[in-house]
Assembly symmetry: C2
């Protein structure tokens, strides 16, 4: 039991060095008007005494908390937790804290928790939208007050914001074309809510690939789900397989539902990929676990997180204007596994 020792403050250092607290503060912050020797002396003593800046006091004065807020749908999803992991790492390395909030995919909660984040004076905000979010006014609170907002993955469909995403159109295009290359002629698509641009773009990419390759676009094979979870995956698979003219391929906008598709097809005795080729999206760990292994589109989660916080920090540094618009687009890659490999 060492007993509590109270924290060292700049006043302690100032007193010991016979300078003013202002000088200590400026020295520690490398202010131009402080001499070299003074800076060195201050920093050395700070080190010796184990001085730790009181970030709370600093935050109060500057009205900046050095904390990055993150708003996501659910923490416990492979893609999201990897995204956060990337953000957390970069944040810590730049001396920032990270606080996390979940919307559980409910716009209402997103709004409320956003208010709470605002109240805690976060320095910047990184958001992946709730599935149901269609209007973005609750973000004005931040942008109007000069707080950087960076959207990642599930980004709004408006233009004047900062975004980090992948090229969903291309990714979907390539995934669909891959199925066509493998000989599929009737390809179903399970997507998410169309007002979410990622799902709209995946749908568009899918349709473009069909058209380019002269494959008929059959609306009965295109289903936009509301949550695209495991249960929905089963239901949708059943739905398309019961059609008079069932598909021989499925491009699914996430892996969770694609896995359900595999499971349902297997249960019905349908051979994968011979009778039904399947490709998902995200390249979640389950892709390698399921039998047959699931082809997917690799989604660079950690890198997206890093890119997002990099944008946010650049805005904090003033290198990018908060009210401008930037866009970072990361590469994806179709990962072919047995669930879609009919040739070679």
């Amino acid at each position: 039991m060492e007993g509590k020792k109270k924290d060292v403050t700049i006043y302690d250092l100032a007193h010991e060095l016979n300078v003013s607290p202002s000088t200590v503060s400026r020295a520690l912050n490398d202010h131009y008007s402080i001499g070299k020797k003074t800076k060195k002396a201050v920093k050395q003593l700070a080190e010796e005494r184990g001085y730790r800046p009181n970030t709370i006091a600093s935050s109060l004065r500057t009205n900046r908390s050095n904390t990055i807020g993150i708003m996501v749908s659910w923490i416990n999803r492979p893609f999201i937790s990897s995204l956060i992991s990337g953000i957390e790492k970069a944040a810590r390395e730049s001396g920032h804290q990270v606080i996390i909030s979940q919307s559980y995919d409910k716009p209402e909660l997103e709004k409320d928790n956003l208010q709470a984040l605002y109240d805690s004076r976060i320095s910047a905000l990184i958001v992946s939208l709730a599935m149901g979010t269609t209007d973005y006014q609750h973000f004005d609170l931040f942008t109007n007050n000069g707080i950087p907002v960076v959207f990642v993955d599930r980004i709004p469909s408006i233009h004047d914001v900062h975004k980090v995403h992948i090229n969903n159109f291309n990714a979907a295009f390539e995934a669909t074309e891959h199925l066509i290359d493998q000989g599929c002629t009737r390809i179903a698509h399970f997507g998410g809510a169309r007002h979410q641009s990622i799902y709209e773009d995946r749908r568009s990419g899918y349709i473009a690939a069909l058209k380019k390759n002269n494959v008929d676009v059959d609306e009965s094979l295109i289903i936009q789900a509301t949550s695209l979870n495991a249960e929905e995956g089963l239901r949708l698979t059943e739905q398309v397989l019961e059609l008079e003219n069932p598909p021989d391929g499925i491009f699914c906008a996430n892996d969770t539902a694609a896995v359900s598709a595999i499971q349902y097809a297997k249960k019905m005795g349908i051979r994968i990929p011979e009778e039904l080729a399947i490709i998902g999206f995200n390249n979640d760990p389950i892709c390698e676990i399921i039998d047959p292994p699931l082809s997917s589109v690799d989604h660079p989660a950690v890198e997206m997180g890093e890119a997002a916080i990099k944008q946010a920090l650049a805005m904090l540094e003033g290198e990018i204007a908060t009210d401008s618009a930037t866009r970072v687009t990361l590469d994806t890659q179709v990962v072919v596994r047995a669930s879609s490999l009919r040739k070679g």
Copy 2:
């Protein structure tokens, strides 16, 4: 563009009501010495003006940040992200923020990041230890300064701390006995680092079950791995299957390695569960995805998180002494699936 409006402070409210800021502060905090009418008037005006307490100012004064720190190995693991999800929810409901830090299972990083958490004046700390952590002195920084520390899941082997965990001994005992019930006579065990009590307890439970049922304990079938990841799982499975007298069952201390065991056995043409019955631990989502579905021990992640933060909050409220010791033990359940079901 609404333009920035500055925040409402207690001074604004005080001025408008012709009372002092002290009164406003006390009224909002339901201080006993403020009259009913005054309280009502203050609260109503606060509501009307959209007053939001400046938690930073409050933190500076009280030296409590209303922030709960979490230290875990990796965010992006199913069990951990669910744990965090549980903590985050309960924290938010009680008006606390959550900040997260990762140790990546490295004691060195755990120590450094813990210091950073301390510097940011967290009100309480919830920890699941890094795999390699064997000494716990870096937590004294918190306990000596009256900051509640609650350990969860990967808890230290010392007594005078607050813990939330499951009964690993019993869980392992039941899982092992389940394999015995299914006719296994040579059961291997893949565990983690023995200095982590959860792994030591699972080992003990396993051995106790063997002994109780008069099954020989063969040390060559018991392997304590250092990280128990997918690669190790493959390696360990290979190792035991190449023994002169290979096992007919495996009790694995996590699901990741158990899945590897299934994959390796399948590759070698070994039938599961007939020739080799397998049970894992955690009941991760992959258990239902892998073929055959993996039996496991259900680990109530969200509930553990909730229990942990409940303990922490109770300590903050002074209901439990910080320097006492408490222990919450949650129930587990063996979930039987095809990977271990030889009968019935």
